[in-house]
Amino acid sequence: MVLKIFFPQCCNRAESGLLVGRWISGHDSAVVLAVIHYPFIPGQVKQYIQQMQAQSGVELTVLGSWSLPKEGQESMESFLRDLSTIFPQQRWLQVSRQMGKMGFICEVVNRNQNGQETQQEAKKQNDDEEEEKVIFVHYEQRKVMLSQLHPTESGDPDLDTEPPSELKQVFQTVARSQPLFFLDRYDDGPLKSTHWQSEGREASIIVELLKQASVPLCVLISWLLALWTWLCSIRIFSLYPLRFLSSKLSTCVQISYRTEHMRTLSSPKPAIEHKQFMRKGNILVSFLVDVGLGVLLMSWLYRDDHIATLANMLMPAADHVAKELEELLQWLMGAPAGLKMNRALDQVLGRFFLYHIHLWISYIHLMSPFIEGILWYGGLSACLGLTFALSLLSDMVALLTFHIYCFYVYGARLYCLKIYGLSSLWRLFRGKKWNVLRQRVDSCSYDVDQLFIGTLLFTILLFLLPTTALYYLVFTLLRLVVVLFQGVLHLSVDFINSFPLFAMGLRLFRPYRLAEGVKFQVLCEEPGTALHLLMEINPLKCSTVVQLYRTPTYSCYPRDSWAALVKKLFVGELIYPWRHKSTKVD
């Protein structure tokens, strides 16, 4: 079997001493975490290791000895071999290196149960098969410590039926051994060790300050949330019309999502699992970016009297739209595109819609003095975030184009009724009937008067079809334009809500933190030494990052396929093309 030793790159030039690390059970491999230098007192070393084991929860042991003799120093081979008696192990690794040479030499001392030693040397590949072969895998300790190997475990470790793989155990060992890396060379203790932090502990002042500041901030946010929840749970708000309205208005939906996010952020427990940590980070960064963009929008809006300009533009725009619609209806009431319409029905429908437009325009004129005020106060909502401003815009568009929605519903219902009537009477024309019980078309014998009236009605409906169909077509197109615009707004709100900016930033600037796997590179070999490999971290692909760390919100995507949509349009069913998924409970 091949013995694998994971050796940190920072210890390549460490002075001679003891190797401290962990044996990985079941895989015949060992992870070296640090080197404790000579001179040391074995009792203190054992005490230190027990202390570290208690703090970190990792089964640390002394793996063996490391010898890198400096110039002029005689080799301490025999001394280091005797150390194996002080630290009784199943296997004792004696790793040595010459200055100037790249390769390591490893001797493995196996101890049988009788206490007798048998020694095996690792030599070149030409020798016997029973000798133990050794691979040295060099890894960069700091990066492996901070990295998270995907796929991460979710849930309790008790639920895992299979033991984690070798690489996962290596990563977990290094990540959990953080207390071992606190001993640096400026410590006055009895032991001196080499690891990635032995030149001095690294920390960031900004991170520490933020950690201190976050505690009172969390308390404040949770108090505010409690107040808001109490406000929302007042009885008057749970009456039916208000509840229905608040589920339809996208602003209210957005408020509820932000409340949820704030609740996640302000929980007092720090995130233990990697997924929770990333979720919190993503929510925080998304929220900050959102507010930043909103403040930018506000600074543009309230400068140079832009609001007044917008308000002054709105009235003529609404008048223009109304005029265009009236012209369209006049055109339909005449002979549109050369088609000849049924005069009476045409006039009825046209006049009905014209009156509707007249009502709408009067309503807009009534509101015109308040528009500037509404825009001014509505613009203030952008300080809560760009998503709020966009949701407010979407709601305002929905309210302002309510008449188009009404027209569409009237036209669609009329057309739908006509189509169903036509299909049923067509069956009568042919002597068939729809059997509701059997859900199929059966033949049926009708009386003469039934046939007579049915045929009459069929003819009437058939000849009125072009008129209704034209009105339906025009208003469906208008409705689709509005729906498309609202859909774009909702998609951008959803994008800002759910895009994992923190995870993306981590992937771009610290790619080693999100690891998909590892890659190996064979380092140049010298004859007589073991095989040396360099293990580097293979970062996750950007698309995987987005897929894994998306914050779940209502995702806005088309409900029907193109074929189903066209069929619905043809038959006259009302279409609600955007489907909103409800939030998944994670």
């Binding site: 079997m1 015949d28 590949q125 691979i135 793989s165 190996f520 064979v522 070999e525």
Partner: protein, 181 residues
């Protein structure tokens, strides 16, 4: 480092490079032929002749600049995403198998599969339109179910070497896998 004359399934010459780093660590690199200058010249000239013809009729210089842009961007995308320079397979006994392909622009895509997930390396047959081709693939298993094959990872997808090359690689890999699994 032997270099017999191997070809891929279309008849283009490829080269196989076997390196033995140790008794249980071997690397196989299959290199495809490089981008030929003749083809590049032919494509560029044809695109530009077409652009000149369109320019002759429309007298719009945007057509010419558009053609130049299209050629440059197309070439860059081709060497970065499409043209594979060499594919390599590194087998490390009792650690795992690393599959990597590097593109003509230097970009490398690497995947490492741990030994506990590998069931075997085999040569498989596939019916592709009117041909029957052989390809080398790694059979993966779930560590909890050692008898079932959970998925198949095909190797040397872009170079598509022929059977003689595959047999050589297969024999070499099996020597290591049989010892160290």
């Amino acid at each position: 480092m032997e270099d017999e004359a191997f070809t891929d399934i279309c008849g283009k010459p490829i080269s196989l490079d076997c390196q033995s780093h140790s008794s249980f660590c071997r690397e196989f690199i299959i290199s495809s032929p490089k981008v030929s200058m003749g083809k590049v010249m032919v494509y560029t000239c044809s695109v530009w002749l077409l652009a000149y013809a369109v320019f002759f009729f429309t007298q719009n210089t945007a057509v010419l600049s558009g053609a130049i842009l299209v050629t440059l961007v197309g070439m860059m995308l081709h060497i970065h995403f499409v043209k594979v320079d060499h594919e390599s397979l590194l087998v490390i006994g009792s650690l795992g198998i690393q599959v990597s392909s590097s593109y003509a622009s230097g970009r490398e895509i690497t995947t490492f599969i741990e030994m506990s997930k590998i069931k075997d390396i085999v040569i498989n047959e596939a019916i592709y339109m009117h041909q029957i081709i052989y390809y080398l693939c790694v059979l993966l298993k779930d560590p909890s179910e050692p008898d079932a094959v959970s998925s198949v990872v095909p190797l040397f997808q872009s170079s598509k070497p022929r059977l003689n090359c595959l047999v050589k690689v297969y024999k070499s890999c099996q020597e290591i896998l049989s010892k160290c699994q």
